[in-house]
């Protein structure tokens, strides 16, 4: 099997010569459950933001504003940790209007 040009163009050993570009990778489409925040009950304690393994909580100043749906994988840690129990994990497909 002949080697095509492809392997010569790739970087050596999979090195990526850029910083912080994993933000370009859409991991949000892995999600089967989406966190829905009840902002009436939210105290903006930021514990969800702190615990999120994917840095997917959006803030504005001292306020929690929402979820980055391009990167949230729906792990549910935020709902588990929220002291106000104001995050609900909802079926993603239901929110998108069915499969």
């Amino acid at each position: 099997m002949e080697a095509k040009e492809g392997w010569k163009d790739l970087s050596l050993g999979g090195v990526i010569t850029a910083a912080g570009n994993s933000v370009l990778y859409d991991t949000g489409n892995w999600r089967t459950l989406r966190p829905v925040i009840n902002f009436a009950a939210c105290s903006h304690c930021m514990i969800c933001w702190l615990f999120c393994p994917d840095s997917s909580f959006q803030t504005q100043g001292k306020l929690l504003t929402g979820v980055d749906l391009e990167h949230c994988k729906g792990c549910g840690i935020c709902a588990e940790e929220c002291p106000k129990r104001c995050i609900e994990m909802v079926e993603e497909m239901a929110l998108r209007g069915g499969a």
Binding site: L12, G13, V15, T17
Partner: protein, 411 residues
């Protein structure tokens, strides 16, 4: 003092004659190379090497950051992190220690990091055995590391120094392991030549990585995830690097020869030129085999030895060319590698012969496992059987277990 001796003394760098064991001598090589980081975990028979190197660290004779990690797996992981960061890193291990870091060996080669590991070859349990054979290095022959073998302490020292140049070559960028037999080489005191510190420093030069984690101005990510298309091409790149290593290894060996008077290539041939019966082998058993070959030559038998130095990448063309005139080939394997039609060195040798359209009779001799002595009488018995095979004795299953005189397998 003859003119020849004078010329020799002025042409090559003057070393110091010392009496040291292989493990101690490689520790000196590490001292002279002064790597930025050494991460290691103790295991017999590597301990003689690391104990001396640790003494050098304690005495302030090196600038090396010494990490006494919790396992060999951690040792290789630390080396990987250090070299990705932009530093030079080395480690040493043996036997089960090599096995313990096995998954990280793949990371080191896949990430194209020029780590140098000093292997003191030891058997793999069970049963538990801490003595020398090649099973540990054979167990990672597929990992994409370059593998060099030494016959004695001098060769281990010379290989250690050359390993850095081979690994860091811009067309290669692969980790290298240089191997010496546990106890036989590592613990026996031999008369060797230690190069001057500055000669070693000049030979290895400095390491200028293309990418380094600690280079803030040119950020890079190492050890990334790739998809099913690209993974195949990265592995293709590694094959290319090993092919280049095959070209570079003798070049570095010749350059080393111009410095020291000791040149290195893929193998050393002993009485090989017109040999009709040849033993192919690795490591310290070469010393015994050479004595027997010499005796046989004096008896009119055209015996020869092919002592392979570069096992990975396997120099198939060179080995086949060296065996072209042989009527019969014996391959000594000092490793417990089960299930195939022979042990690793035999398989590689037979493939090389086959690819060149050569088909001498070939027999695999498993010997010296777990530190078992291989004596001149054993080698003589091997040669005598090979001579019978050359005269037409049927080989049957081409595997023998060297134990006293033939026939070895009392089935």
């Amino acid at each position: 003092m003859t003119l020849e001796t004078n010329e020799r003394r002025t042409r090559y760098v003057r070393g110091t004659d010392v009496a040291l064991s292989g493990g101690q001598l490689v520790a000196h090589a590490m001292r002279q190379m002064n790597p930025d980081l050494v991460a290691a975990y103790p295991i017999t028979p590597q301990t003689i090497l690391m104990e001396l190197f640790c003494q050098f660290v304690a005495d302030g004779k090196v600038d090396t950051e010494l990490l006494t990690v919790e396992s060999e797996h951690a040792a290789m992981s630390a080396c990987i992190g250090a070299v990705a960061a932009g530093a030079r890193a080395q480690t040493a291990s043996a036997g089960a220690g090599i096995a313990f870091m096995w998954e990280m060996l793949w990371c080191a080669s896949g990430m194209r990091l020029p780590i140098v590991m000093h292997v003191v070859n030891r058997s793999l349990s069970a049963p538990l055995n801490i003595l020398g054979d090649h099973t540990d290095a054979m167990g990672c022959r597929d990992t994409g590391w370059v593998q060099l073998y030494a016959e004695n302490a001098q060769e281990a020292y010379d290989n250690a120094i050359q390993s850095v140049r081979i690994a860091e070559h811009p067309d290669i960028l692969l980790p290298v392991m240089e191997c010496q037999d546990g106890f036989t080489i590592s613990h026996s005191v031999q008369r060797v030549q230690l190069l001057p510190d500055e000669a070693v420093r000049d030979f290895i030069g400095s390491w200028e990585p293309a990418h380094a984690l600690l280079d803030w101005e040119h950020p890079a990510s190492f050890g990334t995830n790739v998809d099913r298309n690209d993974f195949f091409w990265y592995k293709r790149q590694q094959w290319n690097a090993l092919d280049r290593a095959l070209e570079v290894i003798p070049q570095v060996g010749e350059e080393y020869g111009r410095l020291t008077g000791r040149s290195y290539g893929y193998y050393e041939g002993y009485r090989l030129e017109d040999a009709e019966v040849v033993l192919v082998l690795l490591g310290s058993v070469a010393g015994v085999a050479k004595i027997v070959a010499e005796e046989l030559r004096n008896e009119g038998i055209k015996a020869g030895i092919l002592k392979l130095r570069c096992y990975r990448p396997f120099p198939a063309q060179a080995v086949a060319d060296a065996l072209r005139a042989s009527k019969v080939v014996g391959v000594l394997d000092r490793a417990s590698c089960f299930g195939g039609q022979g042990a690793p060195l035999f398989l590689d040798t037979c493939t090389a012969l086959y690819q060149q359209g050569l088909s001498p009779a070939a027999v695999n001799y498993i010997c010296g496992l777990g530190g078992r002595d291989v004596a001149p009488a054993h080698i003589r018995a091997v040669f005598l059987e090979l001579l019978e095979v050359a005269k037409g004795k049927p080989v049957g299953r081409p595997m023998r277990f060297v134990d006293g005189a033939p026939p070895y397998d009392r089935q």
